[in-house]
């Protein structure tokens, strides 16, 4: 017990240490130059692209386009956590295989399916937010944006898919090891968004505890993953994605089973989506409402109608994308088979 407490205290101490040692030293009005790797996919607006680097908001002209994984060199003046009149001096494109793989996948989806279907696939499979603004707004209005910001669900699905396929061919031990590597690869490909990292760490701990044959409580995994994340990147404590991800997970653990049991009348296809969405909303809706002033009372119903398609879109989309990078025609045919589901998903959104 003492042993556990001391680990716990030590982790908290580390967070404080990291928080104070990584605090930026610049103040308003300073003129600075930053060289940094881009760890999140820039969000594209009509004339601008938005990125967040070292806790600073930076709005750059739309072209030349900055991609996730590139290293950029910008200068500008600090004003209230924003870089005013930023100037992009240089982009060094990444040579890393995984970053390029992500970009190639997105390009392949966009070249194989029309908008907004391609954005839906790219968002669902690897959390790409590079999509027409009108579609992004539609997703936000209907409360379904979480499906395209790669989330914990994606990691769970990746892990389940890999374990399911690998245990057929390999020893369980090896399968678990490769799955863990697969999760890591997925976290890198989909951009280090807080929800993905959370799910990646939680999934990793679960996998290895299974391997060792130990039962670990979900709560403990949840707390340890949060601590680990804050040690790596203390600014995450103020990141909305981080907060929402944890609040949603906690709400799911607390309420999902109870709600699911009471929805026996709902057909099984829609039930899981509805209970998941209702449970998550209990925690998430107030936060979203306070921060964005957005709240759609129909959102659980819309989610119930569309969420069952996500595993299929994700699995077929991933398989189609990977095959497509090797044999484009075959990959494209696989993506075409997804079209009815995508068509259904998007038409549901536009009915509401």
């Amino acid at each position: 017990m003492i042993y556990r407490c001391s680990i716990f205290l030590f982790l908290i101490f580390l967070i404080f240490l990291r928080f104070y040692s990584t605090r930026p030293i610049y103040k308003n009005g300073d003129f600075i130059r930053i060289t940094s790797k881009v760890y999140n996919e820039p969000i594209i607006y009509e004339r601008l692209q938005y990125l967040k680097i070292q806790g600073l908001k930076i709005y750059l002209p739309k072209y030349p386009a900055v991609n996730y994984g590139d290293t950029i060199f910008v200068e500008g003046k600090i004003n209230d956590k924003k870089l005013v009149s930023p100037k992009l001096i240089e982009i060094k494109e990444t040579k890393n295989f995984l970053y390029n793989f992500r970009q190639k996948l997105i390009d392949f989806y966009k070249a194989s399916l029309p908008e907004p279907f391609s954005s839906l696939v790219a968002g669902t499979v690897i959390g790409s937010k590079n999509m027409p603004e009108s579609f992004w707004d539609k997703l936000k209005d209907t409360g379904t944006a979480h499906v395209v910001v790669a989330s914990g669900t994606n990691v769970t699905l990746t892990a389940a898919f890999l374990i399911g396929v690998l245990t057929v061919f390999l020893k369980r031990r090896h399968a678990i090891l490769i799955t863990a590597l697969g999760i890591l690869g997925y976290v890198i490909i989909s951009g280090f968004d807080a929800p993905i990292v959370r799910a990646g760490i939680m999934g990793g701990i679960l996998l290895f505890s299974q391997e060792k044959g130990r039962v670990v409580s979900t709560w403990r995994i949840l707390i340890y993953s949060a601590l680990i994340m804050l040690i790596i990147k203390p600014v995450w404590i103020t990141d909305l994605g981080f907060i929402l991800s944890y609040v949603a997970t906690i709400s799911l653990i607390l309420f999902q089973k109870i709600i699911d049991l009471r929805l026996k009348l709902i057909p099984a296809v829609f039930r899981e989506g509805l209970s998941t969405s209702l449970a998550a909303q209990i925690g998430v809706a107030p936060i979203i409402f306070v921060t964005f002033g957005q709240f759609n009372i129909l959102s659980p119903i819309i989610n119930a109608l569309v969420l069952w398609t996500i595993p299929y879109i994700m699995v077929l989309g991933a398989v189609g994308g990977i095959v497509g990078l090797i044999v484009p025609v075959v990959g494209r045919l696989i993506l075409f088979t997804l079209f009815p589901l995508l068509w259904y998903f998007i038409n549901i959104l536009y009915i509401f």
């Binding site: 070249a111 399916l113 029309p114 907004p116 027409p132 579609f135 075409f336 079209f339 009815p340």
Partner: protein, 287 residues
């Protein structure tokens, strides 16, 4: 057993994909002025043949292409950039990235008058894609399956200090249906075009320059006697397009009575879709 189940799911998906693709095509000609805000993007489609005239100011043209083109068709047979202004060229970068464009009809983008960072990006994109680039000339004819295009403007040696006046003007013919697309030409060129012998009466006009008073001329209107005038314009745009002068010209008693002219605006009704079976034509939802 589990695999069995998923295999059946998969076959169901394949079957419905095939049905959806069968129902997504019809044999008529569709002329769709996409609602892309302040700018032009006109999709002309017959079965799996597409011509795209301009690409609007941004990526919203991709939504329009996605909405009307069959989902399995990733090829646009002919793309036309009437002139390089951003409200006509802005979407092409990503159209070239995501679709296969067979032919590209454009003014010479190396012209100093057009130079901008975006145009340079676009030029490189086009150059790297194996697209056949065609430069316009008066009297040039282009055939794309059963659709014929005649180029009325500009000639190869045309010179002007205004980008707008380089706008490629063409007449489309599909059986008895005729439509004229005018880009952003100003009234000087409008008058010039009205004297072209191949003009004759035309069913459909894309009103020049989003209905700016410095666009459609009375001479051109009288020469072609259109039945439908389409204005592609953004809601509450900062230019005040379409201007009252042009609306008055279109609504003038002679136009309404003689040609039974109908004005359709993208800012009022969204995408403007005209359908023709080569004999007659109608706007969507009425025949």
């Amino acid at each position: 057993m589990v695999f069995h189940k998923y295999f059946i799911y998969f076959l169901t998906l394949v079957a419905s994909a095939i049905w959806l693709s069968v129902f997504s095509v019809g044999a008529n000609l569709h002329v769709i002025a996409c609602d892309v805000g302040q700018g032009d993007a006109i999709l002309i489609q017959r079965i799996n043949t597409q011509i795209l005239i301009d690409s609007g100011p941004n990526d919203s043209v991709l939504n329009c292409l996605g909405k009307y083109m069959p989902f399995w068709d990733r090829t646009i047979e002919l793309a036309i950039l009437t002139h390089p202004d951003k409200d006509h060229s802005g979407g092409y970068l990503n159209v070239f990235k995501t679709y296969k464009i067979k032919n590209f009809l454009t003014n010479d983008l190396n012209n100093k008058l057009f130079s901008s960072q975006y145009i340079e990006l676009l030029r490189n994109e086009v150059g790297g894609r194996g697209t056949e680039v065609i430069y316009p000339d008066i009297g040039m004819g282009i055939r794309v399956s059963l659709i014929y295009l005649d180029i009325l403007h500009p000639s190869q040696d045309f010179q002007s200090s205004k980008t707008n006046n380089y706008s490629i003007v063409n007449i489309l013919k599909y059986g008895n249906f005729k439509a004229i697309f005018t880009g952003d030409i100003e009234d000087v060129v409008s008058d010039l075009v009205s004297t072209r012998p191949e003009l004759g009466e035309v069913n459909y006009i894309k009103v020049p320059h989003h209905g700016s008073k410095n666009g459609l001329s009375e001479k051109l209107l009288q020469a072609i006697k259109p039945k439908v005038a389409v204005i592609s314009v953004g809601r509450k745009n900062s230019y005040g397009h379409p201007h009252k002068e042009v609306l008055d010209l279109l609504r003038s008693s002679s136009a309404i009575e003689k040609y039974k002219l109908k004005i359709l605006r993208t800012d009022e009704i969204g995408d403007v879709e005209i359908i023709s079976d080569s004999q007659t034509f109608w706007t969507k939802n009425e025949k």
